[in-house]
């Protein structure tokens, strides 16, 4: 057992658990985005940051990947944490504003503005779908490709995967595409088009214009429109 202090409360947790586990055990909420029970922690979104250490030694770490250590002092909601978290949300909003999950998180954290160049990414590279496919569905049909700016998720060689069983697990866990299809009028809410489709990922050869292999999905049109608009500028 390891004893640590979270927000001043002493707790004893099992060795090998993460700060997120420990905080959950004590009932301190930490928001997460790329973390899901049953999947290996990945630490991609940084929403779950907490502050550990004291004074000049204090630093921000992602609680979903950070293992607890003896005598550790954790603050889950210090000023610094909240400010950083807000910034992270603002950045996420800048890249993927149409995600309901991100919108909800942003509003819950009082993010009222977005000061960066607006983009309409359909993926925040949180890796949930990749882990879902590999670890829970035992398929490994999709994975990360390339790196840096060009990093993307998809099948090897961009061809229809033979290992994919069309389970739809990837779409189920995707924070970017859940309830996304509001097209250009947010007040119209979701179109429901995707909900009436047979299993996604269906007989589709090229994924080029589509998000999460769904067709038809009007949300993808937003991205396309934004791109053409950018090009014309």
């Amino acid at each position: 057992m390891i004893t640590l202090k979270i927000n001043g409360v002493t707790a004893a947790v099992e060795e090998g658990s993460t700060i997120l586990d420990a905080a959950g055990f004590l009932g301190f909420p930490i928001p997460t985005l790329c973390h899901m029970e049953g999947l290996t922690p990945y630490g991609a979104c940084r929403i779950c940051i907490v502050e550990i250490g004291e004074g000049v030694q204090a630093k921000l770490v992602s609680s979903c990947t950070y293992p607890v250590a003896e005598g550790m002092k954790v603050r889950t909601a210090s000023k610094r944490v909240l400010r950083a978290r807000k910034m992270i949300l603002e950045l996420l909003l800048a890249s993927c504003p149409q995600s309901k999950v991100i919108q909800d998180l942003a509003s819950a954290h009082g993010v009222r503005q977005q000061r960066f160049k607006q983009e309409h990414e359909d993926c925040i590279l949180c890796g949930l779908c990749v882990r879902m496919c590999k670890e829970q569905m035992m398929a490994g049909a999709i994975g990360f490709r390339s790196r840096g700016e060009k990093r993307s998720i998809g099948t090897p060689f961009d061809i229809k995967s033979e290992t994919c069983r069309l389970c739809g697990g990837c779409i189920y866990v995707c924070p970017a595409c859940q309830l996304r299809c509001t097209y250009t009028e947010p007040d119209k809410a979701i179109c429901g088009g995707c909900a009436n489709l047979p299993p996604p990922c269906a007989e589709k050869e090229a994924f080029d214009d589509m998000m999460c292999y769904m067709n038809p999905c009007v949300a993808c049109e937003i991205e396309k429109d934004a791109k053409t608009a950018n090009m014309m500028e």
Partner: protein
């Protein structure tokens, strides 16, 4: 588990040619059981083919039992790996900070103009591939251009044409090897002037030199690597190690060996004409790799010619 390409989309698949996958099992065997062997395997494949053919990657997937996503992820992650065929010559121009302030962008533009391609592309004749990098660690020499592993320092626009010509004529090391003393030669029969290059037989991923040989009443074909300095060769029948063979031209049947004797084992040397004006001598005794290049006054100096 295998992935069959019903229709290779995008730029990856090379549809025109079937890739010869013979070299792959050998590579896989060499790295079998090693931990963390994926990158060495991919490196070896790239050395043989010049790029990573889709079929080869699929073979790696099915043979090693790794997941296709992992293999593809690694292959696309590193800049050093290419999934599209590259040209025979790789031209790499540095756009790093130091090279940039010394005019690398103008050099890059000039290269693009002369080759008629942009960054990452290959010329239609499959001769050149142009790539850009951000610093090669040779900043003091900037602007730096690397052609087939050969560094050109303080490059000026006016030199580019010559550099590319040298690369084309093989005066710079071949891309098939990274050893600086190897370069490809094209040879003819010194008697009938017939070409001796066998386009259908490759050694060191270059067309091989083909010759007729005979010894003790048996005759057959001998193929030598056209990479000068490479010991690679293939013989059609079993020549006992240590015995010398009679070398003749496959076209005019003229004997090519005997004029000189090997400086290290005294067996007869065979001589061939090298295009561009030189004579290639090689020892006819199996197991002796003595070769030399006689440079008659020529326009093409193989080493350092274009590199100053």
């Amino acid at each position: 588990m295998s992935l069959t390409a019903n229709k290779p989309s995008g730029g990856h698949g090379n549809t025109e040619e079937k890739v010869n996958l013979k070299a792959i099992p050998e590579i896989l065997k060499r790295h079998a059981g090693e931990r963390g062997s994926l990158i060495p395997i991919l490196e070896d494949i790239q050395t043989v083919y010049g790029y990573l053919p889709e079929e080869a990657l699929k073979l790696v997937v099915s043979e090693t039992g790794r997941s296709a996503t992992d293999v593809y992820g690694v292959a696309t992650f590193y800049r050093a790996f290419s999934l599209t065929p590259r040209g025979r010559h790789l031209v790499c121009v540095c756009l790093g900070t130091a090279c940039h302030v010394r005019g690398a962008s103008a050099i890059a533009e000039e290269l693009k103009l002369q080759l008629g391609i942009s960054d990452g592309e290959t010329t239609a004749d499959k001769e050149f591939t142009l790539e850009t990098v951000n610093c090669l660690g040779a900043c003091a020499l900037g602007p730096v251009v690397v052609i087939d592993g050969h560094y050109f320092s303080k490059v000026r626009k006016s030199r580019i044409r010559q550099m590319l010509e040298d690369a084309r004529s093989g005066c710079i090391n071949s891309s098939a090897t990274d050893s600086s003393s190897m370069f490809p030669v094209t040879v003819n029969c010194p008697v009938c002037k017939g070409g001796l290059m066998d386009e259908n037989f490759t050694l060191d991923s270059l067309p091989a030199i083909q010759l007729s040989i005979s010894s003790a009443g048996v005759s057959g074909r001998l193929r030598l690597s056209s990479l000068y300095g490479s010991p690679e060769c293939a013989v059609e029948y079993d020549v006992p190690a240590g015995s010398a063979v009679e070398v003749s031209c496959p076209h005019c049947k003229a004997a090519l060996s005997g004029a000189l004797s090997c400086s290290s084992c005294a067996a007869p040397m065979a001589s061939l004409d090298v295009q561009g004006g030189a004579v290639l001598h090689f020892c006819s005794r199996r197991g002796c790799h003595n070769r030399s290049l006689d440079l008659t006054p020529s326009s093409c100096l193989p080493e350092g010619g274009g590199a100053k």
